[in-house]
């Protein structure tokens, strides 16, 4: 090899090593400093990383819709990334925001929206094109989902929205001659009539509901209580909160007609669904989100029904809202917004709710479903939407999420499983909730 060529080769090798080192350092620097201000691109398309938290059927439907969106245009490419359940996804989102590595688009549970909004990490959405023209179902919009004192700016657009509903095994109800309960007394009575025992063991439970905050909030509202009083004091329902807890204690410990499902968080929900599908539970409360899955999986007809009342009908709304992360590059936020708008269009909103069980989020979607006769053919789908007439808005309380997870849920479980006095337990919960965060 001639000298000049060898020299040139050495220079070239040295340069490529330098380039490699520079690229490596650049990558490390950008990783340590978080996201750059430049948008992520795939060719000419802006890439929107979308962190979502679903499994099973709902996940499949979402991925289908994302695929359809990506094929429908050539400017934006949405990349969905599964992040576990709602709580795992939230943990990852917070950490990513703190590390400056958050995606532009995610969806978060309703109760956490005030906390994230107060932290200033969410993008206000009112200034985005078409934000005022989404024609959302009022009770499902951010304004309708939260009570007085809620933020004036919009931070969340409804995505998968739900209410708790009662699922009844129609075959077992018919065999027992039972009717869907409409009051707490009837609930206990029907649960007793549906429970079957053999040699001291329960072979079929009349009723089951996860010992979870969401269902307890429903009971608090039905007993006429509010989590936060009009003066802003966190009362956790006062006497209504205790009455709600006592109902569970009565069904589990006195009547022994309700099984407290094992596991925490969504594992308990899954256990309840499995018991219901195996006909070991005759009636359960769960989210409307599982409607299509349960109908498709159950070897028996399912009748969905609104939750019963004590002094009044009441349900909380649930599910999540789309949020844009404020620190994301502007171009990615714009691209993410275009996807959110697309998801709110009637065709997608209808596809989403009819294939899952979630509620339609826009008025036009509701009208279309009514006009097409969908609700006549699928009366179970109508239950959650009709319950919106009794939906109790959430308080705009940034600490609510912490109170829910760290204080109320463990104490509810303790009271039901050990029989601790309901008044004493709720008093302890109120005291702990009043302590500084």
């Amino acid at each position: 090899m001639p000298h000049s060529v060898r020299a040139s080769s050495r220079v070239s090798a040295s340069r490529s090593r330098r380039d490699l080192l520079a690229a490596l350092l650049g990558t490390l620097a950008s990783a340590s400093c978080g996201r750059s201000a430049r948008p992520l691109r795939d060719g000419s398309r802006v890439v929107v990383t979308f962190w979502y938290a679903f499994g099973d059927l709902v996940r499949k439907v979402l991925l289908d819709l994302v695929d359809r969106y990506n094929q429908s245009q050539s400017l934006v490419l949405v990349r969905p990334v599964h992040q576990g359940d709602y709580f795992e996804a939230l943990a990852k989102l917070r950490t990513a925001i703190a590390a400056g590595a958050a995606p532009p688009l995610a969806h978060v549970v309703l109760e956490v929206l005030p906390y994230l909004a107060r932290a200033g990490v969410l993008e206000p959405l009112d200034g985005y094109e078409g934000a005022g023209e989404l024609a959302l179902v009022p009770a499902l919009s951010q304004r309708g989902s939260f009570g007085p004192g809620a933020a004036q700016e919009t931070y969340g657009v409804p995505f998968n929205r739900s209410t708790p509903i009662a699922y009844c095994n129609a075959r077992l109800f018919q065999q027992a001659g039972a009717h869907v309960p409409t009051t707490w007394d009837e609930l206990a009575q029907v649960a007793r009539s549906l429970t079957r025992r053999s040699s001291g063991s329960v072979t079929r439970w009349g009723f089951e509901v996860p010992l979870s905050w969401w269902y307890w909030v429903a009971l608090v509202g039905q007993a006429g209580g509010h989590l936060v009083e009009p003066d802003g004091k966190l009362s956790l329902g006062g006497p209504a909160g205790e009455a709600a807890l006592e109902l569970w204690q009565h069904l589990v410990r006195t009547d022994r007609v309700m099984r407290p499902p094992p596991g925490g968080d969504y594992q308990a929900w899954q256990s309840t669904s499995e018991g219901f599908l195996q006909e070991r539970i005759a009636m359960m409360w769960s989210s409307t989100a599982f409607l299509r899955y349960l109908e498709a999986s159950a070897p028996f007809p399912i009748v969905a029904a609104p939750l019963p009342r004590a002094s009044s009908f009441s349900v909380p709304t649930g599910g999540t809202m789309f949020v844009l992360v404020r620190s994301a590059p502007d171009e990615e936020k714009q691209a993410a917004w275009s996807f959110v708008r697309w998801m709110c269009e009637p065709e997608q909103a209808i596809d989403w709710c009819t294939r899952t069980g979630y509620m339609p989020i826009t008025r036009r979607a509701v009208e279309s479903l009514g006009e097409s006769g969908f609700y006549m053919r699928h009366p179970n789908d109508r239950v959650a939407y009709d319950q919106l007439a009794h939906a109790q808005p959430w308080p705009w309380a940034p600490d609510l999420f912490r109170v829910e997870r760290d204080i109320v849920e463990p104490l509810l479980q303790e009271a039901v499983l050990t029989g601790r006095d309901a008044h004493e337990v709720m008093q302890e919960a109120r005291e702990q909730a009043a302590e500084p965060a």
């Binding site: 063991s201 596991g263 702990q432």
Partner: protein
């Protein structure tokens, strides 16, 4: 070995020291510092003095957490060592069949915690699990091993012991096989029966191996996280909330970095105390070696 220069030992220790400082000492120092602040990662930290320590100790929470973790570890270590020793004695025989049995028992140890947790969840399922069917058949009614606060912790510890038994069995087996046969022959000549040979030859010879197996199992049991996260999420009613899971829950699910840091510091001190007690107990002269 005599060092070539004064700096040579430090040069040899250097890489380990750097890693130790970077990944253990500094993080513990940072945690100790952050334990005096209220911080949620997203908003600016606020100095709160010892409030985080008071909060985790309030309502007997810290004591209950420490006792729960110790109880879990005690069941896991004693179960693992007892079963491991029994199995090691049973399978300490030549032949392919026993080799297969040894491999089968050890396989639980190499399977991931996630798979083990899911397997036991299916077995213990209240409504469809084989164990629940068996419990109903023998008259335990509707006892829910994972749903009853009194049963959940022992059940979780039993799962931990099941997974780790294969490990202690293999370690103890190696200890058994290293006992010189001449010791047994000498004891037999002196008229020692099977029990006496086990009591006065096998057990003393296994001492150092058993100490190693028990220590490593104790460390693993204190790190229990996966099995809690998957099987019970700390419930029901916090009955299975162990230290590492409580730290995770505070920082990631309950949004409290300060309290999680305070828990970390307390956990660190607890482990230091336990380690010094253990070193003292295992040292031949009763002093730390």
């Amino acid at each position: 070995m005599t060092p070539r220069s004064r700096t040579q030992p430090w040069a040899m220790l250097g890489p380990t020291l750097v890693l130790l400082v970077a990944f253990f000492i500094v993080p513990i120092g940072v945690a100790a510092f952050e334990s005096f602040f209220a911080w949620d990662l997203l908003t600016p930290p606020r100095y709160v003095g010892a409030a985080n320590y008071r909060a985790i100790a309030a309502h007997g929470g810290l004591l209950a957490l420490a006792l729960r973790t110790l109880a879990y570890s005690a069941v896991v270590v004693s179960g693992t060592m007892g079963l491991g020793l029994a199995l090691a004695l049973l399978v300490n025989r030549p032949g392919r069949v026993f080799a297969l049995v040894r491999a089968s028992i050890f396989s639980a140890y190499i399977v991931s915690w996630v798979a083990v947790a899911l397997l036991w969840m299916a077995l213990l399922d209240d409504t469809g699990g084989i164990v629940s069917h068996f419990l109903r058949a023998v008259g335990f009614g509707n006892l829910s091993l994972l749903g009853d606060p009194r049963a959940a912790l022992p059940t979780l510890a039993a799962i931990g012991a099941w997974k780790l038994t294969g490990y202690s069995m293999i370690v103890l087996l190696s200890g058994l096989q290293s006992v010189p046969p001449s010791l047994y022959e000498a004891a037999a000549l002196d008229g020692a029966g099977r029990w006496s040979r086990f009591r006065y030859v096998t057990l003393p010879a296994l001492g150092p191996t058993a100490a190693f197996a028990a220590t490593s199992t104790l460390v693993t049991s204190f790190q229990a996280f996966d099995v809690v996260r998957i099987v019970t999420q700390g419930g029901p009613a916090r009955a299975t909330q162990l230290f590492v899971y409580a730290i995770y829950e505070q920082i990631f699910l309950d949004l409290r970095v300060g309290r999680a840091s305070a828990l970390t510091v307390v956990f660190f001190v607890l482990l230091l105390v336990l380690a010094s007690v253990q070193l003292r107990a295992l040292s031949p002269r009763g002093r730390p070696s």
